[in-house]
């Protein structure tokens, strides 16, 4: 058992550090309070969405509707939550609950999550278009203030990342219920044999995903000040990539909340890094993919070395 295989968090940290160093080398002015905030503030909603995706991947499912769901949450935030806070809050709560119900239904009917969530992505997208047919709305003032707050020492994005990572680490890695949730991904049968209701656990995991999805939508509106039904569609794939980049696995309940946040930040930084390299935006998505493949290859090599040893 090598050091790297035991501490799967090291590779994501190293990836982020290398990318950060390269960025600072190319653009030294980014190495400041203001620069860091500019680099990373859009990573906060992505990190929240990645945590949401992680909750689903933790129980061996995958969520293809997350981008549409975050968009919907953003639309609700920019309209109802701004105009009628109580109603907005209720709608957001209903969204979280509907995610929990979705999880229960997927488990009870043994449906493939990939199909159900793909279908649901059109439902979420449709509702979002219904609420906000054209880009618009406004961020509630308090949310805007929260997302543009300037804490001492470190910029908002960095502080938010630390808080998100710490809270989810406590929830998923340290708490008893988080351990059982990871157990569902590892071996659902043994969890059921120990007397747990797997359907409730799955509903809980999906409910948590819904909660973090809603938070991602709210954070996004706080930064963008308005919303659009398609505002976060690319989050679906970004969040999946973030989870994997952060040391998670598609199956087996192996996830890392800290890693997921780092993965989301790495992906955001990769986009900025490519801009600094004056790469045409046409090539950026491809280059982002190349970075992803590079990191995953490194991980695979380390793991193979680890299992040989």
């Amino acid at each position: 058992m090598t050091f790297l295989a035991r501490h799967r968090i090291i590779l994501p940290v190293v990836s982020l550090a290398v990318l950060l160093a390269a960025t600072f080398y190319m653009q030294p002015r980014a190495m400041s309070y203001f620069g860091l905030n500019l680099l990373f503030n859009l990573a906060v909603p992505i990190a929240l969405a990645t945590i949401a995706q992680m909750m689903i991947i933790m129980v061996n499912d995958i969520d293809l509707s997350l981008g549409a769901f975050v968009s919907l949450a953003a639309c609700v935030t920019a309209t109802f939550l701004n105009d009628a806070p109580m109603l907005g809050l209720l709608i957001l709560l209903a969204l979280v609950l509907s995610y929990a119900v979705l999880g229960a239904v997927i488990h009870a009917l043994e449906l493939p999550a990939i199909v159900v969530t793909l279908g649901m992505s059109f439902v979420w997208g449709g509702i979002a278009l219904f609420i906000l047919p054209s880009p618009g709305g406004a961020a509630p003032g308090w949310l805007r203030t929260l997302m543009t707050v300037k804490p001492p020492f470190a910029p908002m994005a960095v502080v938010a990342a630390v808080i998100i990572a710490a809270v989810t680490h406590l929830l998923i890695m340290r708490s008893g219920i988080g351990t059982v949730l990871r157990g569902v991904g590892g071996n659902a049968r043994s969890v059921a044999r120990a007397g747990w209701s797997v359907i409730r656990l799955k509903a809980l995991a999906y409910g948590l995903a819904g909660l973090f999805g809603v938070l991602a939508g709210m954070a996004l509106v706080g930064l963008a000040t308005s919303a659009d039904a398609n505002i976060a569609l690319r989050y679906t794939l970004l969040s999946i990539a973030g989870v994997i980049l952060g040391g998670g696995e598609f199956t087996g309940g192996k996830v890392s909340p800290t890693g997921a946040v780092i993965g989301a930040f790495t992906l955001t930084l990769a986009a900025s890094f490519l801009s600094f390299m004056r790469l045409s935006p046409d090539w950026q998505i491809g280059a982002q993919g190349a970075i992803l493949i590079l990191v995953l290859t490194a991980r695979l090599i380390f793991r193979q070395k680890g299992s040989e040893a």
């Binding site: 058992m1 035991r6 340290r174 008893g176 351990t179 059982v180 990871r182 157990g183 991904g185 590892g186 071996n187 049968r189 043994s190 969890v191 044999r193 120990a194 007397g195 747990w196 087996g252 309940g253 192996k254």
Partner: protein
């Protein structure tokens, strides 16, 4: 001991469990009192696992009753089970796995007591185990995982373990560790616990059991104190007493050249029906899969395949559920009939029609979807798929699972006819009756061949003898 202490922990009265028409357990009366160590033995399909699942509350009986000491559930009564197939969460640490089955561990710092509890349990059962409670389970060896699972089974977990069911607990442990476990089982029973011990190692059963229960065809056929059994008596009790079927295979035939020989010692000659037997999960399916994969290319299907495979697990690796019966049959022979890479539709239909009548698939039209057929007929389609190809060797991985008696007779006849025409069959079966149809039988135990039987030697008694470890567990 007071009356209360002798009250049974669990008592089954005429408990039965049916799965559809299959009577997995057919009226069992059994009670386990504190201090009991019950050895449970029986051949494949005798109902051992079903009985275990009734006792641990995993299944409810179809009829009859099951009562626990506390009047509540199996969990309240302190019934624990340790399964043969590993049931830990590999992504969690040893201590976290204890948490899964120990919901009383609460509070912000539940890890410390969890580590202490599993550590103590491991130390008690396996002194000198060297397992770190913080290690993730998938970094442990199979034996260590089994040890952890046993330790979790015996751990107090907030209440107290009162009846622990051990299903083949020593299958992946070496002799020294297994001895530690046997010593602990005796100590546990002496201090008022109870154990149901299932093992294919006769030596172990005799070493720990105070009472031996023999299951056969879902019924208890013998239940006596361990001292009253001899090893031979036990094997006899497990077997059928029915007339031997030796005359069916009595006619010795001449076989051609050797066509299969593996490193493990598996040999088959042309025109021979070779059976693989032994308890389920002792490496028969793996041996066949290895043989099949070594004889077929992963890259291209040749025009004339050397081997074909008949799957036993239809849903997983047999039936193509969205296709018609015709296509399910012809998929193995498409390369032979193809012209310029295009499927010969007429030839395909001809072959399917031919096999529909030869093997008696009960359908009006072979264009019907495969799922319109009953399980037995789906299996016939899989046989047709294999036999339609020109492969000289046919590998069958327990193909008769869930097939009715009529179909079985049809297929036996088909197999004998094909063998007479020079094909070789390798046939793994969990049913001894089927294995007795073979010309030569290899009995597997612990992933190795423990006996090779031919001709008149092929009897249920001999197979049972070879499936169970008869030596002392050293």
């Amino acid at each position: 001991m007071t009356e209360h202490e002798r009250a049974p922990l669990v008592s089954l009265t005429d408990a039965a469990r049916h799965f559809g028409p299959v009577r997995a357990l057919d009226g069992v009366t059994l009670s386990v009192v504190p201090g009991d160590c019950v050895g449970l033995v029986g051949h494949n399909g005798a109902g051992k696992s079903t009985l275990v699942n009734l006792v641990n509350g995993g299944l409810a009986p179809s009829s009859g009753t099951i009562e626990f000491a506390t009047g509540g559930s199996a969990l309240d009564a302190g019934v624990r089970s340790v399964f043969q197939e590993l049931s830990l969460c590999p992504n969690l640490t040893v201590a976290e796995n204890l948490r899964i089955s120990h919901s009383a561990l609460k509070g912000p710092n539940w890890r410390r007591p969890a580590r202490a509890e599993i550590g103590t349990s491991l130390d008690t059962i396996f002194p000198g185990h060297g397992i770190d409670p913080n290690a993730e389970v998938d970094t442990l060896s199979i034996a260590e995982r089994q040890m952890v699972e046993i330790a979790i089974g015996f751990a107090p977990r907030g209440t107290e373990a009162r009846l622990v069911i051990l299903d083949e607990p020593t299958s992946s442990l070496d002799a020294g560790i297994a001895d530690q476990l046997l010593v602990h089982v005796k100590r546990f029973c002496a201090s008022g616990g109870a154990v149901i011990f299932i093992s294919h190692m006769m030596g172990e059963v005799f070493q720990v059991a105070t009472r031996i229960v023999v299951l056969k065809d879902g019924k208890v056929v013998a239940e006596r104190p361990a001292e009253d059994f001899t090893r031979q008596g036990l094997v006899d009790a497990m077997g059928h007493v029915t007339a031997d079927t030796a005359d069916a295979t009595g006619t010795a035939r001449d076989f051609g050249t050797e066509v299969v020989r593996t490193d493990q010692g598996l040999i088959a000659r042309k025109g021979e029906i070779v059976g693989l037997s032994g308890l389920a999960g002792h490496g028969q399916a793996a041996a066949l899969a290895r043989l099949y994969l070594s004889r077929s290319s992963a890259w291209r299907a040749g025009k004339a395949p050397e081997v074909v495979f008949v799957a036993g697990d239809r849903q997983r690796d047999g039936v193509l559920p969205l296709w018609s019966i015709l296509r399910n049959i012809s998929v193995s022979i498409l390369p032979q009939g193809a012209r310029h890479g295009l499927v010969d539709r007429e030839g395909e239909a001809r072959v399917a029609q031919d096999w529909k009548t030869r093997i008696g698939i009960r359908t009006e039209d072979v264009a019907n979807p495969i799922l319109s057929l009953s399980g037995g007929n789906q299996q016939k389609v899989l046989f047709a798929r294999a036999l339609a190809s020109s492969a000289p060797v046919v590998i069958m991985d327990d193909p008769m699972r869930g097939v009715d008696v009529g179909t079985k007779q049809d297929v036996y006849a088909m197999i004998r006819a094909e063998a007479a025409r020079g094909r070789t069959f390798l046939w793994y079966s969990t049913e001894t009756e089927e294995v007795c149809q073979c010309d030569r039988v290899f009995v597997f135990r612990n992933h190795e061949i423990s006996a090779e039987l031919t001709g008149a030697e092929i009897t249920e008694e001999k197979i049972l003898e070879a499936s169970f470890e008869m030596q002392e567990a050293s």
